[in-house]
Amino acid sequence: VTPEGFQSFLAWLSPDPDRAAHRYNEIRGGLMKMFVCRGCDRPEELADEALDRVIRKVEVVAPGYEGNPAAYVHGVAKNVFLEYLRTRRRSLEGGAVELETALRRASAPTGNTELERRHACLERCLAGLAADDRDLILRYYREAGWAKIEERQIMADETSASRSALRKRTQRIRERLKICLTGCLEGGGTA
């Protein structure tokens, strides 16, 4: 990929350089998500491969192309995906083991020391939240089974929010906690 090719690609996305840069990042992010959703294990590499192929051809393709450049990029990305499928040596047995591990980790109890470490990290991360966010997320997880579903409806009613809005808010809080918790645990529980 040459700098000139890259500039031509950006110009194809938008004549406004800032807008073009934004579009480039949007396309790259979208490609990575697409490869993730198609089960690929190297989404970033595959996204860059697709973009490189488009950039190498942009000066030939762009002048005669009508329509959304993203659609063209998507077509190239599908070819990259098909090649990935052909060359990937997927060990079905290995995949099954990984899947089993993920399912167990998502549900398995852990030892006391590990639990204490997680609790310590989580308490630290919770302390970093705004008070109303902290109350909300703890209440969101307070009940189990059907009682939890009912509790969440009550919470939505109390805040005049839809269950969807409530879920989105808790999703954002969980995402922050997840990042904080991961960092804390990887840092030995001292973050």
């Binding site: 949007e26 396309i27 979208g30 490609l31 998500k33 697409m34 993730v36 959703c37 198609r38 089960g39 690929c40 294990d41 989404p43 959304n68 993203a70 659609a71 990029v73 998507h74 990305a77 599908k78 995949g95 990984e98 899947l99 993920a102 399912l103 980790r105 998502a106 549900s107 398995a108 109890p109 852990t110 639990l115 997680r118 609790h119 990290c121 989580l122 308490e123 997320i137 703890l138 209440r139 997880y141 307070r142 009940e143 189990a144 089974g145 059907w146 009682a147 939890k148 009912e150 409806q153 009550i154 969807s164 879920r167 989105k168 999703q171 969980r174 906690l177 997840k178 918790l181 991961t182």
Partner: protein, 261 residues
């Protein structure tokens, strides 16, 4: 259905691999060219994972989730992280239950299903010696009682496929006088006529194996097996696999935890 939920439904179908290629292409081009698609996709992902951990997906959706959605290593990591977070939050957030408000609207269907299930169990228990009930199990989809004399059998009814965070699993306490844990497994597979049941501890491997035939009732079936209590350890979590005979295909998975004695 609101426009928002319709959009989320389509993204869920995409994540479960349920769309045609043309529909999939259209969504992916949106993903590459609009600001709104990525957050919608993230919402759908989050919702799917939460519902999976809640055990709220249908059997077919659960299968698609495990066979397609979890093909992606990134999705497997997301599931692990969600399970970790849920486990920790659930333990922190446990508090006494608040009084229930009256159930209305959509909850009526759930209530009806629960009542039907309880009535079904009462009917079954009526065939056995009278039971002085002592509640020992807590958790979703569980009903239990301990038969004091002469059978001293603890009864636990389980629904399949509940992958719960630790702490929210179905739990049962086995008192000193209990000799048998009778598992009543709600069966979803209509083709099941006979099955091998394998009970395994998460950290000690298989602890008991037996065979059984499901009893048919209106709208479903129940598989009943008696597990010697001596095989079960307090504080351990167990997985129950139902394997269809004669081909050994896995027909259902159930989970429970025995309280420390």
């Amino acid at each position: 259905m609101t426009e928002e939920s319709a959009v989320l439904r389509v993204w869920r179908q995409y994540l479960l691999g349920e769309l045609s290629e043309a529909e999939q292409d259209k969504l992916e081009v949106d993903l590459l060219s609009t600001d709104t698609a990525a957050p919608e996709l993230a919402d759908a992902e989050d919702g799917l994972i939460e519902e999976y951990l809640d055990g709220a997906l249908s059997a077919a959706q659960r299968r698609r989730f495990e066979e397609y959605f979890l093909l992606s290593p990134e999705h497997r990591r997301s599931l692990e992280a969600a399970g970790l977070l849920r486990e920790a939050l659930t333990r922190l957030a446990v508090a006494p239950s608040r009084p229930r408000r009256p159930l209305v609207g959509a909850w009526a269907g759930l209530l009806a299903a629960a009542i039907a299930f309880i009535v079904f169990n009462l009917y079954r228990k009526a065939e056995a010696p009278p039971l002085p009930p002592r509640a020992v199990a807590v958790g979703p989809t569980a009903t239990s009682a301990v038969r004091q004399e002469p059978m001293r059998v603890a009864l636990l009814s389980l629904s399949p496929g509940r992958v719960m965070a630790a702490g929210s699993e179905t739990r049962i306490g086995l008192g000193a006088g209990v000799g048998t844990l009778r598992l009543e497994l709600i069966v979803e597979d209509p083709s099941l006529t006979r099955a091998r049941v394998v009970v395994s501890a998460r950290d000690h491997g298989d602890v008991w194996t037996g065979t059984a035939a499901p009893a048919r009732v209106d709208g479903g079936a129940v598989l009943t097996v008696d597990v010697p209590a001596e095989r079960l350890h307090g504080g351990s979590s167990y997985e129950v696999a139902v394997l269809r005979e004669p081909d050994g295909v896995k027909s259902g998975i159930y989970y429970f935890t025995v309280d420390p004695r």
